[in-house]
Symmetry: C2
Subunit: 235 residues, 2 copies
DNA sequence: GTTTTCAGTTTTACATTCAACTTTTGGAGT
DNA sequence: ACTCCAAAAGTTGAATGTAAAACTGAAAAC
């Protein structure tokens, strides 16, 4: 009876759950840019499902803040404003700081060493100015610290916020100067983690995110100026 | 054309949205105790709606963590374990601390004065050992500080967590000693707020929540011992 | 030339239906 | 009397249907 426990987990997640993941990916990856309408019919055909599970998925994503539902007018990928970022970043900062503290308590030496190795590889890409892999490793590091908190509620919550702002990332090209700063901050992060100095790590992570926010924010400002009011909801 | 801007906002929230609110209330207020199955049919009849919008609402509540969906076996009010509380409380602590810091920056003198008056009334109820109104004012104070943060994302996120643990409150009768401690902590909270000392306020709030957690946790432990494994999901 | 109006079409919100899975119930065998 | 199996009843997951709201665009009015 327990024989099939070996088989791949037959967790057959329900259709709507799968759709939540798929559509979320579309949005945070920027395939559905902020503000554009999401006609259900189109997505239904794209995924080959009926409207019911898709609509359920959209409701969930709306509660996460990724899509905006307007009564009788359907769904659209949520717009992201500077005000949103101003709100979200401090919250992410608090959460990541907490993650850092907990990670200092809970991570094994082996795990910390593995973060260090991610870090070293990341710095190597920084030196060679390879942005893409740099970003990837960067994200991996933050994910590893998060996982090290051993706190699933924290992780889920952080990911939700991160998803909402990640879309802004596509606008944000780092200046060379900012990049150097970020790399330096990461050096501090690793040091604090290796020293298991939770307070210190929390502090750096918060600062790191704050700086990142300022970069993204400035970029967004410049865009907003040049585009001259991309007008939201005209009424 | 703008004439109807004066009329009450015709926001006619959709059916499913309304249901989310209603069912959420049922759960956090303890009308649907943790672990019990939620047959959709019953709720449908209760609210006089068809299954479609109700199921949408359940999906949303599941993503908030209030209900647990088991494939082909429907929904149930999520169980709440000590481990869950251990996870959630630090996160709430971090968020409330941030709220405190922001509130110190953003609240008007008038608002702070109004919190003070809530506080005074609460202390009066404490002196007279009136638990119910004490609790109510207590919650009002925390809500006011939260609102003072002027950060909607923070508020939404905090409320979501608070909803998940609020159900545990029904087990937690405070000891006289703990009550005195809580009242004292609130005295500190008000002082820090009036001094607009953000760091101090953050610190106290975090401590306050930590103490609260220990009380609730202990209570839960005792219950768990007496009930001897209320067994969750047998397989 | 611009704005308004109104029929036709599309899209959405919700209800209903259908199929698949679970649980229950009844009975046969040990 | 207990266990095991099978058929029925009930519930859930997903598809389809329906009524109403919103968009479109072309003709009429200003």
């Amino acid at each position: 009876m327990a024989s099939n426990a070996l088989k791949q987990p037959i967790v057959r997640q329900s259709l709507h759950e799968e759709l939540v993941g798929l559509v979320r990916e579309l949005i945070v990856d920027g395939d559905l840019p902020p503000g554009v309408k999401i006609p259900e019919k189109e997505l239904c055909e794209r995924f080959g499902v009926s409207r019911t599970p898709l609509r359920e998925a959209l409701k969930v994503l709306a509660s996460e803040g990724l899509v905006t539902l307007t009564p009788n007018r359907g769904a659209s990928a949520s717009l992201i404003t500077i005000e949103d970022l101003e709100e979200v970043f401090p919250v992410m900062g608090a959460l990541e700081a907490l993650a850092g503290e907990l990670a200092c308590q809970h991570m094994t030496a082996r795990e910390i060493a593995s973060v260090r190795s991610l870090h070293n590889r990341m710095i190597e890409h920084y030196r060679q100015e390879q942005l893409k892999p740099y970003f990837q490793l960067n994200q991996n590091i933050h994910e590893a610290i998060l996982a090290g908190s051993r706190n699933n509620s924290l992780i889920v919550m952080y990911r939700s916020l991160a998803g909402r702002v990640r879309r802004a990332r596509y606008f944000a090209n780092m200046s060379r100067k900012r990049w150097a700063q970020a790399a330096a901050e990461h050096e501090e992060i690793i040091s604090a983690l290796e020293a298991r100095d939770g307070a210190q790590l929390a502090d750096i992570l918060k600062r790191h995110l704050q700086n990142k926010f300022e970069t993204v924010s400035q970029q967004l400002m410049e865009m907003a100026e040049s585009v001259q009011k991309p007008n939201r909801a005209s009424r």
